[in-house]
């Protein structure tokens, strides 16, 4: 137990003290604060850059009666665009747009059916907001005009536009309401990403650690004092504890960041991420699945890391494992829109996918309790099995040197471990 604690502490402290770890954590915390304040920052930047020049929209009104109405609509919508009625003709103005002398040009005319025909000219190819707003404005102008023509009263117009009362309601027992789903989605999305990232990050850290110890031969000293099995699990737990600490730091700073920005946007973000209600269960599930996923993949990574004798070969040997995590991630991502799909359900019980896919289902659906419990059971069993198997490979693997970098060496390692 003494040696176990020593290795545990060594893995935790030395890794935690490395510059790369501290810097990564720092950057991630900074990113969280940046994200939380993003709307404020964008607002500030916009204020600085856009205050001095409002955009000007030049209008050629062939009908001679639409411009005032448009101006009125723009005033109501409080748009940051100045409208100028231009006496010049259309072609000259188009040329000016081309030469970048003016920003944008709008032509207005009424056709024979007294409907509005309008074209928007600009040098920007990717512009959506302003043209859409103009279209909306013109639409209401036209509606008003037609209403006058047809001598409809305001109320009559209103009735014409009464919207349909349409709601979706799923009768599946496992579904949450649409509103709940939208709330859950944000939180699940963020946590899923975190689990995915953490599992990949920490398990490759384990594999690299093991390979480093092997290539530097410090392994021979370690395992002549501690049994390889103890060493493996002390290492996995040590790095796992470090992972939890990092996650806790990130979680705390995310909470702090959102709390301190205390604006409407922050309130919005809070409710978007579902923190305000029912977030707790999801977060607890996230921690459980993070831990299970970590132990599963870390044990696997330790096993794989013990097969290679050079740090350079680590990436190659953990590639199959990385693929498993990526597949799990894509499955979960594909299910985020519709977590009720059959294949999502089945894959959520496959232990290598459970941490992400079952977490998605648990976060998004009202599952009967036995489903997550069963998947957790399967995972625990797999972790146990993998730990047992991993320890056997590890025992031999750590003594194996030479150009070993394929999964075929697992057999060789088990053989050597027995001897």
């Amino acid at each position: 137990m003494r040696e176990f604690m020593l290795i545990f502490k060594q893995a935790f402290i030395t890794k935690g003290k490395t510059k790369s770890f501290i810097i990564t954590t720092g950057i991630m915390i900074a990113a969280i604060f940046l994200m939380a304040n993003l709307s404020n920052i964008i607002g500030a930047v916009q204020k600085v850059t856009s205050s001095d020049e409002t955009e000007t929209l030049y209008v050629v009104d062939e009908s001679n009666q639409l411009f005032d109405s448009l101006q009125e609509q723009f005033n109501i919508a409080d748009l940051d665009v100045e409208l100028v009625l231009s006496p010049k003709d259309q072609e000259t103005l188009k040329e000016e747009v081309r030469n970048d002398e003016i920003d944008m040009l709008l032509t207005l005319r009424l056709n024979d059916g007294r409907s509005i025909e309008s074209t928007y000219y600009s040098m920007k190819s990717m512009e959506f907001t302003l043209p859409m707003m103009i279209e909306d404005a013109l639409q209401s102008i036209q509606t008003e005009m037609k209403a006058v023509e047809l001598s409809l009263t305001n109320e009559e117009v209103q009735t014409l536009f009464t919207s349909v009362q349409f709601e979706t309601e799923s009768l599946s027992s496992s579904s949450k309401s649409e509103e709940e789903l939208n709330q859950a989605r944000g939180l699940v999305y963020v946590l899923m990403f975190l689990i995915y990232f953490a599992v990949i990050f920490y398990s490759s850290m384990i594999a690299t650690e093991v390979a480093t110890e092997k290539s530097s031969r410090v392994m021979e000293i370690l395992i002549s004092s501690v049994s390889p099995v103890k060493h493996l699990f002390a290492k996995v737990l040590g790095i796992g504890a470090l992972g939890l600490l990092q996650m806790a730091l990130l979680g705390a700073s995310a909470f702090l960041a959102i709390k301190t920005t205390a604006g409407e946007a922050a309130e919005g973000a809070l409710s978007f991420f579902g923190f305000s209600n029912m977030g707790m269960t999801t977060i607890i599930y996230a921690i459980v699945f993070f831990l299970l996923g970590y132990f599963l993949y870390a044990t696997l990574a330790g096993l794989l890391g013990s097969l290679v004798s050079r740090v350079e070969d680590v990436n190659q040997v953990i590639l199959p494992m990385t693929f498993l995590v990526i597949i799990a991630f894509f499955l979960a991502m594909s299910g985020i829109g519709n977590p009720d799909l059959a294949y999502i359900k089945y894959t959520s019980f496959i232990p290598f996918f459970t941490p992400l896919v079952m977490f998605l289902r648990v976060g998004m659906l009202d599952l009967p309790l036995w489903e997550p419990l069963l998947s957790i059971g399967i995972m625990l069993f797999t972790i146990f099995l993998l730990g047992w198997f991993g320890a056997r490979v590890y025992k031999g693997g750590v003594l194996m040197y030479g150009p070993s970098r394929s999964l075929k060496d697992i057999k060789k390692a088990i053989q050597l471990g027995k001897e």
């Binding site: 040696e3 020593l6 290795i7 060594q10 030395t14 490395t18 480093t212 110890e213 530097s216 031969r217 410090v218 392994m219 021979e220 000293i221 370690l222 395992i223 002549s224 004092s225 501690v226 049994s227 003594l399 053989q415 050597l416 001897e419």
Partner: protein
Amino acid sequence: MSLQLENVTKRFGDFTAVDQLNLSIEQGTMYGFLGANGAGKTTTFRMILGLLNANEGKITWNQKRISYATSPEIGYLPEERGLYPKMKVAEQLIFLGQLRGMSKSASKRAASEWLEKMEVSHYETKKVEELSKGNQQKIQVIASLMHQPKLLILDEPFSGLDPVNVEMLKNAILEFRNNGATILFSSHRMDHVEELCEQLSIIHQGKQVVSGSLREVKRSFGRQNVRIHSEYDLASLASIEGVTNVQQSIEGAIYQVETEEVAHELLATALQLGPIRHFAIEEPSLQDIFIEKVGNVHA
């Protein structure tokens, strides 16, 4: 306090790495373990450390099997550097000392004492990878003996060291032995073994080809070297019966002879050719024995 290996055999599949090896190392002695690359030295060390199990035979340390319980009594220096490259020297030594059963404070004290002794205390806060190979080797040696092991296993302890550091290390190891430790070490450098070891073994492809005390080994080799310096051409001496090998040198030649009689005959014949300036009967060097027994020039 002795280390005993009796008829130890280790096979990997069809390949026999160590074949019927017998070693007996008394407390307070130093044992040299010689062999070409791949002869089975590291495998033997791993078996002694309990990392591998022997297929046949028995390994005991003070009549006990070696296990993790005995690990604080054992110190091991692996062939290549066995240190964390990114960890600081002092931290690393303290960690490894604790791993071998020392308390944290004792480990701290021993680390600084040894760093002082090896004249590397100014590297205390440096990372291992920043040190030169020779200094890394010193740290490595400290790591293997700072916990005062009773049995010290050194795999190529002198590799990568300059002559000054080799001397320093030799003295440290000798002092350690004089305090009662049992030391087993392997080396390619015959002169180190000749200088340090009471007993030795040469193994070749897993088989023990020579073993015993240095004197026994040299006696039983059954050959001596005769060194003759002369200004005359001594080539004809090579044809005398009993001369097994001739090596020309600038001043004359060295003849390997089977018996002392042959040496006398050589002297008589040489004197007939003309006056000689130097004549000596020398013991065979370990180098000669090694090359003869192992049959290649890996030494």
